[in-house]
């Protein structure tokens, strides 16, 4: 069962070949055996999961099943789920049991999906390797000495190791796409505003976006159908008609113009990564796609711009963790100021503190114009570059990550090197565009490579179409890491 896609499991449940309770137990058993190895899950509540499975079986029996009814889905621990510990990978929230459901969780619950558990992540989604988690790093199922990527690395590793058929993630600067690439699965970051941020613990509000992670483009479409939708509780949620993201999956790709930004292929990425991506593009050409060269001249500025804006927003978003109302509070302190200082010094990890410091600095009097305002201007230029590029093509492609999975600890002492992981993913966040990663091969060490597809605003269905057609003629997404059988 664990090698099946969501689509297949959905059919199995509908045909009563197994129940949701059986399916859920199957995954829970795998988790209890393998989680010590991969550490993808940091929050499990078997009773709660099984209760949801039972109610899903009820829905199915009553003929009220939908495509996700009874399907176990892993939740990134950044989404608030009522009654569940929701930690965001931080000591600061290690005792925070959410009294409410995020919009995404609400939607999945209403569709009858089963919350299989909360997945590990970089602390407050700040990281590209899952090493900043207070709960310890996640291991990449393809090589446990390497990282799965981040920040949604727990979700990515869980799907790769067949410890969940699908998972939720969030992407602020690449946090869905990069771990999807490094872990050999699919991940989609929708257009900013398509998935409500209500109940998604904020890192950088103007960039954060939730999205699905699974093994096939088709599964992503099924999940996005449930996760997307207007929510009045998020003022940046877009009021649009519901769409069926599976509607274009079968469309032929003939005549599709694929933009290839020279900046994506200009030496920033490892040769083996470029090779795999070029092979994928050759495959797509055979399917009728037409490559077009495009330019994103300001793309090189996206990492510096991102690392001004995201920390600026984070420094303010994370100020609420002060030990006053909930979450961690230092056990001993003197006066109020001392309580604040000790609570935050003890409750946050190094990377979070680094970003709070950067963010506080760039917003400070006298620096605001030089950093924050300047970065906002460049952000608009980056969006304009994409607008120009999309006049000449339908989708843009390139590598998701400059390298395949790197060794645990390899970049932890060099933040700038770590930040450069985001070079190909941050532009889509800055422009608010949808982006996804699809497995497109392996390097000589047997580590997966991801192909990134960036679409114009609301082009999710088209992107999923491209990825789905590609997956009809390739089998990278069906490969499984060794060592995951129990």
């Amino acid at each position: 069962m664990h090698n099946a896609t969501v689509k297949e499991l959905s059919a199995g449940l509908a045909a009563r070949r197994y129940s949701s309770v059986e399916l859920t137990r199957h995954f829970l058993k795998r988790i209890s055996t393998l989680n010590d190895t991969y550490r993808c899950y940091i929050g499990l509540d078997e009773e709660a999961s099984l209760a949801q499975a039972r109610s899903a079986d009820g829905m199915l029996a009553a003929g009220r099943g939908q495509s996700l009814t009874g399907i176990p889905v892993a939740q990134k621990d950044i989404f608030c789920a009522r009654g569940w510990l929701t930690t965001c990978g931080s000591k600061m929230l290690s005792n925070f049991r959410s009294p409410y459901d995020a919009h995404v969780v609400e939607q999945l619950n209403a569709a009858g999906a089963v919350n299989l558990g909360k997945t590990n992540m970089d602390e407050f989604a700040m990281g590209s390797s899952c090493e900043t988690s207070w709960f310890g790093p996640v291991r990449n199922p393809w090589d446990v000495a390497t990282v799965p990527g981040g920040s949604s690395g727990g979700s990515a590793a869980a799907v790769a190791a067949r410890l969940a058929p699908a998972a939720t993630g969030t992407d602020t600067g690449g946090s869905i796409r990069q771990p999807a690439a490094l872990s050999g699965i699919c991940g989609l970051k929708p257009t900013y505003g398509v998935v409500s941020r209500y109940g998604l613990i904020a890192f950088a509000s103007s960039l954060d976006q939730g999205g699905p992670m699974a093994r096939t483009a088709e599964d992503l479409a099924l999940l996005l159908n449930v996760m997307a939708g207007f929510d009045a509780r998020d003022s940046t949620s877009l009021e649009r008609e519901r769409e069926d993201y599976t509607r274009d999956l079968g469309k032929p790709l003939a005549g599709l113009k694929v933009g290839l930004p020279k900046e994506f292929f200009g030496g920033g990425a490892a040769p083996e990564v470029i090779q795999a991506v070029e092979a994928a593009i050759a495959e797509l050409k055979r399917l009728g796609c037409e490559p077009v060269e495009v330019a994103l001249p300001n793309m090189k500025l996206s990492v510096p711009v991102y690392y001004v804006l995201a920390p600026a927003e984070a420094s303010s978003n994370l100020a609420r963790y002060d030990g006053v109302r909930y979450g961690y509070r230092a056990p001993e302190y003197g006066d109020l100021m001392d309580m604040y200082k000790k609570t935050r010094a003890q409750g946050f990890g190094e990377e979070v503190k680094r970003r709070i410091l950067i963010g506080t600095y760039v917003l400070s009097h006298g620096y605001y114009d030089a950093y924050y305002i300047q970065a906002q201007k460049i952000r608009r230029l980056i969006a304009r570059d994409f607008a120009e590029a999309f006049k000449r093509c339908d989708v843009i492609m390139g590598p998701t990550s400059p390298t395949t999975a790197f060794k645990l600890g390899e970049k932890m002492n060099d933040p700038v090197l770590m930040y450069l992981n985001d070079i190909f993913t941050t532009p889509a966040n800055l422009a608010g565009l949808p982006g996804m990663s699809v497995p497109c091969g392996f390097d000589s060490k047997g580590l997966p490579v991801g192909l990134q597809i960036v679409g114009n605003y609301f082009a999710e269905a088209r992107m999923l179409n491209v990825a789905h057609q590609y997956q009809q003629v390739t089998d990278w997404h069906t490969r499984a890491p060794s060592g995951i059988e129990i």
């Binding site: 608030c80 959410s98 509780r233 006053v324 909930y326």
Partner: protein
């Protein structure tokens, strides 16, 4: 040296909305601690603000009201920003406010200074959310936090430094207080903190056009404190400067018990609030249609009403009194309508601003709850004007009305209060009084005016106060002269 005092006010008016600025929780005052704080107000992880449209409408109403109904000062696009600082009663550790692009820019308020109108220019008015409250009483070794008030919508109204005395500042604050209630955007309850002022005070040598260094007095929640605090602060600054000292920019608190201002913090330890646009909220766009809708729903403004009253014979001071609230002005208009075409507005003002408002104050009532209706007051005034009632009797009728005995005619009838204007009867009584008071008559004739008053008193006593005093005067004088 002669000094000039320069004052600008920043006023926080709590907007009359059912729910909070960015959440659905109730804004009602006085609920048990933290019973009106929802997930958004507590700033749980993952929650987001959603702007209350009614609060924006209030701000637009204000913008129109201070700009003669023209919306040039209403920003069609304004931005919410985060003001970052740590405090236990500020759950997000930032306040959502407006910084560089406020919803209202400019406008003016008219105040009366020595009977003359003076314009106080407004710099801006912006929307923001209130913080919660720290509670120190009743706890040992720690403080309590009540977040009921957290997120309550406020309009911060900032004036130019156009006031030159504590009296002008009070007149401005009162005019503003009246206006926000008039247009229905704030209940004006100062005890509950719905309307509070910060005063920026500086002094400079008379004739100088350079502003002195200012100190800001925080959180003045009564007109009396506002006046006292400014007077104390200005005197202190003048004394300091005359003693060779320097004024340092600072924020101070007024201690009403000691009547003094006390230093809170200097500019050096002022916060860097690190304002930046709130990414959770889109820029606020205000459409022409919306502005037009709001304009249509606006009442006639107090300035226009005040001018109309002055044209009907009210003094500027009376006109200010009657326009102190829309309810008072409406009561006046209602009374005048009931009184008919020969209503004299100054007479009605004397009743409304005098006995009626004294009674309301005594019983802690607002004018809509007055026990004397406009119709009743009109019936009373009619009987004074036609000579039926003396002013003394009128007071008695008013008191009876207040006690619920009906309208003027019923009370006059019931109590037999009709003024005696029958000159035949009065002449008879005057003759009797003259005859019975030979001594006083003699004194009067000897030039002692006081003796005359005593005679009038005797007549009034004999008629149980029902005689028309003017008539008694005339008759007595005539009789005393004719007999000389």
């Amino acid at each position: 040296m002669k000094w000039e005092i320069v004052i600008g006010l920043e006023t926080h008016a709590q907007l009359s909305t059912q729910s909070k600025m960015f959440s659905g929780a109730s804004t009602a005052f006085g609920a048990p601690p933290n019973s009106q704080a929802c997930a958004v107000d507590i700033a749980l992880p993952g929650v987001l603000p959603v702007l209350n449209g009614r609060a924006v409408e209030c701000a637009i109403r204000f913008g129109l009201a201070v700009n003669g109904g023209s919306a040039e000062n209403v920003s069609r696009r304004s931005i919410f920003a985060r003001k970052n600082y740590f405090y236990p009663d500020l759950p997000k550790a930032y306040q959502i406010s407006q910084y560089e692009m406020p919803i209202v820019k400019g406008g003016a308020m008219a105040i009366l200074v020595d009977g003359k109108e003076k314009k106080i220019r407004l710099t801006r008015a912006h929307l923001e959310e209130d913080a919660g409250k720290s509670v120190h009483e009743g706890f040992h070794d720690f403080s309590g936090i009540d977040l009921n008030r957290a997120g309550t919508p406020l309009l911060e109204i900032v004036s130019e430094p156009d006031m030159r005395s504590a009296e002008e500042a009070v007149a401005y604050a009162k005019a503003l207080h009246s206006l926000v209630r008039w247009i229905g955007i704030c209940d004006g309850n100062m005890q509950e903190g719905s309307f509070r002022c910060d005063a920026n005070v500086s002094v400079r040598p008379a004739g100088s056009d350079k502003l002195g260094t200012r100190r800001e007095i925080k959180n003045l929640n009564s007109f009396r404190f506002l006046e006292q605090a400014i007077k104390y602060e200005a005197a202190w600054q003048i004394e300091t400067l005359e003693g060779g000292g320097k004024i340092e920019q600072a924020t101070v608190l007024f201690d009403p018990d000691r009547g003094e201002t006390r230093m809170m913090r200097t500019k050096e330890d002022a916060h860097d609030y690190r304002y930046f646009p709130d990414p959770d909220l889109l820029p606020l766009a205000v459409s022409e249609t919306w502005i037009d809708e709001i304009r249509t729903s606006m009442p006639e403004l107090p300035d226009a009403r005040r001018k109309a009253y002055m044209a009907s014979g009210l003094s500027p001071a009376q006109a200010v009194l009657i326009t102190s609230s829309r309810e008072v002005a409406d009561f006046m208009d209602h009374t005048a309508r009931a009184r008919g075409s020969d209503a004299r507005l100054p007479d009605l003002t004397n009743w409304i601003a005098g006995p009626l408002s004294a009674r309301l104050n005594e019983e802690n009532l607002e004018i809509p709850q007055s026990r004397v209706s406009p119709e009743q007051l009109a019936s009373l005034d009619r009987r004074i004007a036609d000579g039926t009632l003396s002013s003394k009797m009128a007071r008695e009728v008013f008191d009876a009305m207040w006690a619920g005995e009906g309208d003027a005619d019923a009370i006059i009838e019931k109590r037999g209060l009709k003024q005696i204007s029958d000159s035949g009867e009065l002449e008879k009584i005057c003759d009797q009084v003259i005859a019975a008071n030979a001594k006083q008559v003699e004194d009067y004739r000897a030039g002692k005016d006081k003796a005359f008053n005593s005679l009038v008193g005797q007549v009034m006593k004999a008629t149980k106060g029902k005689a028309n005093p003017q008539q008694v005067n005339d008759i007595l004088k005539r009789k005393l002269v004719s007999r000389a």
